[in-house]
Symmetry: D2
Subunit: 347 residues, 4 copies
């Protein structure tokens, strides 16, 4: 008992059960409570995850000394109030994406957590998949060289969401991954979004998001609810090698291509004068362990609390993603590129 | 003899040999001459295509009464002068893409051809592939319903071109296809381009091009010289069905998906209130004939001349593509959406 | 209650839980008991499927008047004794594949069930997948024409089984599917098997099974535990069309090719004298419903009992598959083709 | 001139032009003559390959001292007479596959060439592709470990040949590759073939060929003229790694899987008692040069002649393939496994 941390899951809707199940099975955690205004829903969930107590009251949870942390899986507009109350009560907080409904509120959450000395973590689940962890490590080890472009395609036939457009529904995945693997995090100089609502649903159903990144690189995401074919492809083009992650190919999820444009011994002048040559090398596909992403995520949450350090996906990461989404919204409205508000020091 | 038309190919460089070979094998044409300032190159080509006469002089070609038409396969900046001279001499003209180096000059070419009563055709080769012809016919027959979005990806490891960026090198293919299949041609309300030159080559090597189309639809092209994997995928999302053309899958080049978001009997209000459902129907892949695109292209050139009608890819088509490329260049420079100059009545 | 049938699952090991779960969720069944000599295992299963009673005693189950049927998921060598006892007690019986450990015992089971007037069904699960049901229906409707060949590949990196070779482990799937879709069932004239045990494990790990079918057709299965790539491909070549089922391609599981060798208006003499031509037509991929195979299987078991008819996968089907496996074993031992013992009238 | 060898191509039909073109472009050869009874056909070919002289007379060719070698691209039944005459005249001989129409005649050709001290080479073209050369080298370097199984699938919609069945039409490719990469060449202990002629064409159109190889390994080829889908897949399963060659995937033709059943530190008894575990390692795809296979083949022919050594695909290689084809024919006829006649010492 003394070696575990106590946690309450707040929100027993779509994602809460996944969190609860992973906390229950983790050796680092004790799942103490399920909190939901809908007590029946809380009960139903509790019965499947070892029967922690259920309560409709957040205050009740926050007053419980056995609870070290809460995991917030409620609608985005409620994140701010819940997280601020928890921080004020000295609890560590894990928040579902997006961090908050506005960057301003998100920023206040980060500052409050820092001031209170508690851990604020964002559940960027994809960052804990084996594919993204491997991509991160390869980039950090310099295997790909300098990042030249990142291109993500995330399309399929999806339900048109009642409250958000396709950018806010799908792009947080792409942006959180880019933020995780880019050295220094995602800090675009400009964001340009174009979208289409050809069915007159009142929100973009097809979206393209371009980001000018420092150093002349570019990031791009194509998100689409109307595609009859499902594609999940994420390409990181580097100056040395290029990595392609095809999430629908379980037999070869990640491929690293030793191919690229060859600039060795070329001056800038030569590059613009003559054709740049290219080389075709081997392809390598690393074996990936089989491990559920959320298992690693809740483990990281515990480790960050115990070690008093920032988690790998901290509040700032959530804030950077939120800033890009806001800039995309502004770009959609204005028809021009927007500069995301600075987030402070990128991690 | 009296049933065939005489043609001279001007320019014996990269593309001229393909034109010459197809004119030579066509029952509609007599290949009369190869014209190139580099006589050795002209000679070498002539020896492989039935030994028509060779000449370095355009005037010589234009003075020859046996020559009904010229096919211009020279650099883009020379198209205007050559075409205008030919039109003045009463010759029909086929021009390689792009039509000219500026939309203004292209417009003058179209007007001159109209005034002179000669045929001006643009060699949008892809429009004569079986895949594009089939796509065109399916759209025209209403099989796909209303067009909602068009998404084209044309990426591979390509040589960085010395004189043009990746938009001018690759996007004409995507744009010419969109122009061909869209009822009324390609007439975007706004064009937004973002590009990246992460290798400091002096020109964009990765490019994204978004077009807001009439009726709320969107067109998008991703063109990229730096991708280690080759992708040629063109998706036409319709309100009834969606067509996917995968040019690298010869066993199933075109797939028509009877899948989509279902709006039957839904009012606008309902659509925004509730989730839109979707349906999963059969997939169908039409058999395509095996036929070289250029064979059909030179056949269409002959037919248009004889019937005194516009060819399927006429000067206006070339001009529309050119206008979008110019708008893309302006968008790249300004960081905002641009409206292409109107081309007059779309075909 | 009066509208449902009572069932006991005998055997709570690998497959029993799947049966129990499907009986529990079926509107046609009441899951009355779990029977396993290992009571702890029975208990653990029962707690997950609505807590039916548990018992280590088959006699106990067979004496229960609330139990109309038993589902036998125990090792193959025990099937005969359990099924014969159940039949003697007037119970309907569902047996896991293979029907028994010898064809002789299987034949006795079929005869006993017939004599007792109870239903004997074999759990050929794959036959209740949407892909196989659709294949069956297309063949029955004459869409493929006459069957010319069936080729099945079922390979991946699999655990070497301690008690059976790769034929007995994997080929029952292929054979049961062939039996289900072939008009008249699987009744080969000769069976030839070749296998390899290159790791000296004491049993074949790579196997090839050829069957000469009536009318000159051929069936073939490649089963392999040592393949690093996973392939599940099943081809039915017909005189009109050919169907390819790729179970690892969820986006296009079944493709029907309107391609084939064209024999129209050709006499036998002409065929042997000149090259046979072929035609390339469209490809069609029918949409398949999403439905778990076992759901349909337990439904069929209930329907067969109620209607007093043979189930779609009856004891004879199990017996035909068993006969081919025995012939394959004999062929492996002798190095020559074997004729399976006749099963009586194919269904 | 003194550095090149003179060659005549005998037979200007289907394959002769490919040989002639490659001899013409090789720096090691002078293409001296085209020999064909159909002089018009010979003429037409000569005009495309630098206009060597043409002749209908083999004697004429064999009497020419400028001719060091002949390349025989005539029907298989004529190989023996032509090759024997050429050997008698002291010429080196390249023969198209199959080496001869019977193994007996093939054996006589090998002996005659050895006795005369001239080079006899078989044109197993596939062995000179980059994919097969790389596979050979990886096996030779021990990268795959001991060969456990080889599985080749070569199927598509093909024309039914008037004179040979699908085994003699397609399997020589698979067998020649196996012969090339297997240390010691292809020397099966037994050959089992099953075929089907469901269209009553008078010859097998679907064929399966199994070979028991020394050491418990197995080789298998599936050849099929009736498949609507084209597959060219060649798998070499080794005790250390497994290689998959997918000839229709130009982006990743060869993949080497570091996956397999793990037998480390396992005794035979343990293997049969417990499940063998397996490991999943990385996948690696070597880059392959772009080079036409025939270019390397004619180079090897020249090198073997000059160095007075056996070519990589010598007469014995052709003889081993021929022996397997004969054993397959016998197996088809008898319905049982056949042992190919020994070829003498495998290379």
């Amino acid at each position: 008992m003394s070696n575990t941390l106590g946690v309450a899951v707040v929100g027993a809707g779509y994602w809460g059960p996944n969190l609860a199940r992973n906390f229950q099975h983790s050796e680092h955690w004790r799942l103490e409570a399920i909190c939901d205004l809908d007590l029946g829903r809380a009960q139903a969930l509790a019965s499947r995850v070892g029967s922690p107590r259920v309560t409709p009251s957040l205050d009740d949870v926050l007053a419980d000394p056995a609870i070290d942390a809460i995991a917030v899986a409620t609608p985005a507009r409620t994140h701010y109030d819940i997280a601020m109350a928890a921080i004020a009560a000295g609890k560590n907080v894990l928040v579902e994406k997006p961090l908050a409904d506005t960057a301003e509120r998100g920023r206040a959450m980060v500052q409050a957590a820092d001031a209170a000395g508690v851990t604020l973590m964002i559940d960027h689940t994809f960052c804990y998949t084996q594919a993204v962890l491997k991509t991160h490590d390869l980039i950090e080890a310099g295997e790909l060289g300098e990042i030249l472009y990142i291109d993500s395609v995330r399309i399929n036939l999806g339900l048109v969401q009642p409250d958000v457009d396709v950018f806010w529904d799908l792009a947080p995945h792409d942006l959180s991954i880019m933020d995780f693997i880019l050295p220094g995090g995602l800090a675009p100089l400009a964001v340009t979004a174009t979208g289409a609502d050809p069915l007159d649903t009142g929100r973009a159903c097809v979206g393209y998001l371009s980001m000018n990144l420092p150093g002349g690189a570019v990031g791009h995401a194509h998100v689409n609810w109307l595609s009859p074919t499902k594609i999940r492809q994420f390409v990181v083009g580097g100056s040395r090698k290029t990595l392609v992650w095809d999430d629908l190919n379980p037999q070869q999820r990640i491929s690293v291509y030793d191919r690229g444009v060859d600039l060795a011994a070329k001056t800038l002048e030569e590059r613009t004068r003559v054709n740049v040559s290219y080389r075709i090398g081997d392809t390598w596909s690393p074996a990936l362990k089989e491990r559920e992403a959320l298992t690693g995520m809740v483990e990281e949450f515990a480790a960050a609390i115990r070690e008093g350090r920032r988690p790998r996906t901290d509040g700032d990461a959530g804030l950077r993603v939120l800033s890009v989404l806001e800039a995309a919204r502004a770009s959609l409205a204005s028809g021009r590129a927007h500069v995301p508000e600075l987030v402070g020091e990128p991690a």
